[in-house]
Symmetry: C2
Subunit: 330 residues, 2 copies
Amino acid sequence: MTRKYELCGLGNAIVDVIASGTDELLAALDIQKGGMTLIDQMRAQKIYNAMGPGKETSGGSAANTMAGFASFGGKGAYMGKVADDQLGRIFAHDLKAVGIDFFYTPLKGGPETASCLIIVTPDAQRSMNTFLGACVEFSESDVDEAVIRDSQIIYLEGYLFDKDTAKAAYLKATKIAKSAGTKVALTLSDSFCVERHRADFQNLIKNDVDILFANETEIMALYQSKTFDDAVASVRGQCDIIAITRSEKGSVVVTPETMDTVPAAPVTKVVDTTGAGDQYAAGFLFGVSRGMALVDCAALGSLAASEVISHVGPRPEASLADLAHQGLAA
Amino acid sequence: MTRKYELCGLGNAIVDVIASGTDELLAALDIQKGGMTLIDQMRAQKIYNAMGPGKETSGGSAANTMAGFASFGGKGAYMGKVADDQLGRIFAHDLKAVGIDFFYTPLKGGPETASCLIIVTPDAQRSMNTFLGACVEFSESDVDEAVIRDSQIIYLEGYLFDKDTAKAAYLKATKIAKSAGTKVALTLSDSFCVERHRADFQNLIKNDVDILFANETEIMALYQSKTFDDAVASVRGQCDIIAITRSEKGSVVVTPETMDTVPAAPVTKVVDTTGAGDQYAAGFLFGVSRGMALVDCAALGSLAASEVISHVGPRPEASLADLAHQGLAA
């Protein structure tokens, strides 16, 4: 059976504000380096006032993945909540412009479209501060059942668990997917997010998730493991496919029967690591949607991640389809 | 007498939306390549719908110049009109973040903050489509007399002449400057802008302007000259200092007594020419404000232009003060 969408992402719809900054600035603002911290409007104001001039660009973890998926040539949909404001229109435009169908009802009269204040330090590490804004209103009514039924795979952010309404939307989407034979993919999003929702994530992975994405820190946080090998032993067999990224060490793909290590793709200069995990998932899921071998899926993930960390911003600037063809030709 | 500000810019306060595009896209949208076209909201919607994903960044010709001036280490102020909206707050933040004092009263209940839809073609040429939005409300009441009296030089965009209220503001600022011994600098902005206001500009240059910026096309349009040399002959002596940029041919600085050609600074790869003229003016005016020789002013202009065309976006990303020190050391 052919479905209209190969992948449907659900997540926090966010516009990023990216600025360069020093480690001293992070310290002065008491920002946790490398993490994603949820902030309120007052804190957002304080950080923004102290930040340098910004570049605004559409972001949001799952939305970034969808943009990457489209860049590979995949057919995708997205669900998330923006407000009826300028940033919301920018977010919607940028998804549509890359060919992703965005299903949404903009929020009127509530909080503004979410923004993420990202400070990129000279070591290319990004530290994210998210004001969830309109995202907190993402709820079950924003989940379009027909679209999920017409998708091969849905892809969900762990970040959705940070608000109860979004969590309910997540669970609804998963239930529909299960009944429709749609595969469920989850990213753990962030180690602090894992700390907040450890038991929920463990249960979900065991019962509902087909494909799990995590980085090394997140998977160790999930099982409170002392070593990477312990974490792999704990997660193995909990779901069909587990893809774990390890930065420059590449990624490890674990199934009940196999375990493969795939190297990172070479990068001339790492400029900004924002979106690395999101693009890895984009490449991996594109491979899965086209029935490729898992090591090839991981190689596409590495390729997409290498593109996005070579420039400022969380979405690809080069055609990932072209890069993949060049990679296959090389 | 020491003044608080070395330079005060007045101009259209605009947020840029920059996307890559092909020559075919320009043709399909009937966009004049390399120019700046004023568009209404319907046309903006049409172009935006057809554009790829964008990067939003604060722009506006004179505001870009002020950001460059601050990057050299200059003390600057700016006046322009934004709306009380998200883009307006971004614009204000980005000027403040580089150390420019922005004097403004945000517009409530009127049009949105201005935006400029910029399509950058593979040849690095930018084509600009400006929806003036709140800028059309920039008026005499937005001109802060005390700030102009406390500035060494004011810098004005020719673009301000496109609306009568802004033109009145321009004339008020010039009158204050004349009475306060503040120098007046003008950029012709764009050859189509020159076509629209030729007689006005000719009179202003003769009567009110001390320092004139133009590119080759603009200065030829101003005097309807057949050759560059004819244009130079026409403008020479009309005001004290005339700096004419000629892209990769560098710039020519003309005074009643002298005429010097200064080469362009080397660039490894031209990525996006947006802001080249604005940054040239920033470097030149920084030199003037510090009493440097005109050829050195022009060299600083070339340096700043070379930095901005090497990346996407109209404002410097490297410290121009550092680049200038390296340049002087080399």
